[in-house]
Symmetry: C2
Subunit: 210 residues, 2 copies
């Protein structure tokens, strides 16, 4: 395609359906690459190395920090989470749009380091729907659901720092909207300077030639 890749941060409430959205986006369009985070937390049953996360020891993770091998990292409770730099840079260089599914603290750091990154926040159409989705999972205890709702309150405080709000009411619509936002970003002037300069030069030649 010859076009520049865009760095996309996707955050959103737990229960808003980010995971499903990412899966759909990646399966429908070839242009996206999903960054896999590194973490020191233990794998949960069914989680695979390199799929959900790259599982690292604390020593390994701290070495990555020391080597500047992460574009952002944060500590939650007792574990580190971070975004390995190599994969992101490699995919962007290949013209792919790289998606980071990370939380607000990480999003903030990305925006600081890559001001052209596009930050999307995914929400349900209202809080009631969010609560129902969390209840519907049945895998979570009431305490966990309460914690998640409390966390959603906190997360909601940071929404203004994002660029776009996407409502996941109907999955297909939501996925199409995200794709459309990214495609529109590619139309920004800064990503089209090559074409602009070539038209300019050609015009100048015509103008001088006649």
């Amino acid at each position: 395609m010859g076009r520049e890749g865009i760095l996309i941060v996707v955050s959103g409430f737990s229960g808003a359906g980010k995971g499903t959205i990412m899966k759909e986006l990646l399966s429908r369009y070839e242009q996206y690459a999903l960054s896999v985070s590194a973490t020191t937390r233990k794998p949960r049953p069914g989680e695979e190395e390199g799929k959900e996360y790259f599982f690292k020891s604390r020593e390994e993770f701290e070495q990555m920090i020391a080597d500047d091998a992460l574009i952002e990292h944060a500590r939650y409770v007792d574990n580190y989470y971070g975004t390995p730099k190599a994969y992101v840079e490699e995919q962007l260089a290949r013209g792919r749009d790289v998606i980071l599914e990370i939380e607000i603290q990480g999003a903030r750091k990305i925006k600081k380091r890559f001001p052209e990154a596009v930050l999307l926040f995914v929400t349900t159409k209202d809080a009631q729907t969010l609560k129902e989705r969390l209840l519907g999972r049945k895998t979570e205890t009431p305490e966990v659901i309460e914690q998640r709702l409390a966390r959603a309150v906190q997360e909601s405080e940071g929404i203004e720092e994002y660029d776009y709000l996407v409502v996941n009411d109907e999955l297909n619509v939501c996925v199409a909207e995200i794709h459309s936002i990214i495609e529109s970003e590619h139309r920004k002037i800064k990503y089209n300077m090559e074409l602009i300069n070539s038209v300019r030069e050609e015009l100048r030649n015509f103008s001088e030639g006649e």
Copy 2:
């Protein structure tokens, strides 16, 4: 729809097909309203009052300037051109996206007065195509075509001041892209604060209630 209207400026090379694009956009989607400029130039054959322009005498136009009834105006050669304020404000208030088809000088003034306006620049995929389209019109003398190409050179210098570049290679694709850019703009956080604040409040109530 209850959503805020967006002010859209469309500029582009003469011959890039802005007129046709506008017509398609307006006929396909109800959300757009096209602002009609006021001018002191004389109507050309076939031009109708209130359709292509509002035709004004110099005195009337200067009175509009004095009354602050124009959101921007400029003088080309011996004529005034300007955007009447009332229509734009009324349509925006009704939630419609208002399109101004104006040149770079006007676009600059709009961006200064309305920093949230979205500025689109329409181009052909290359300068050769532009030249061919101008030649194909056959209504223009070679001198006029030369003038237009010379002007295109000038116009091309200002492209960086726009937000988006749209290539009019295939009309349908181009119209869909413009619509998609505007829809994406509506997803920007600033236009969704009502929803965000309502989700926030609901979440807080859940969190406190339990």
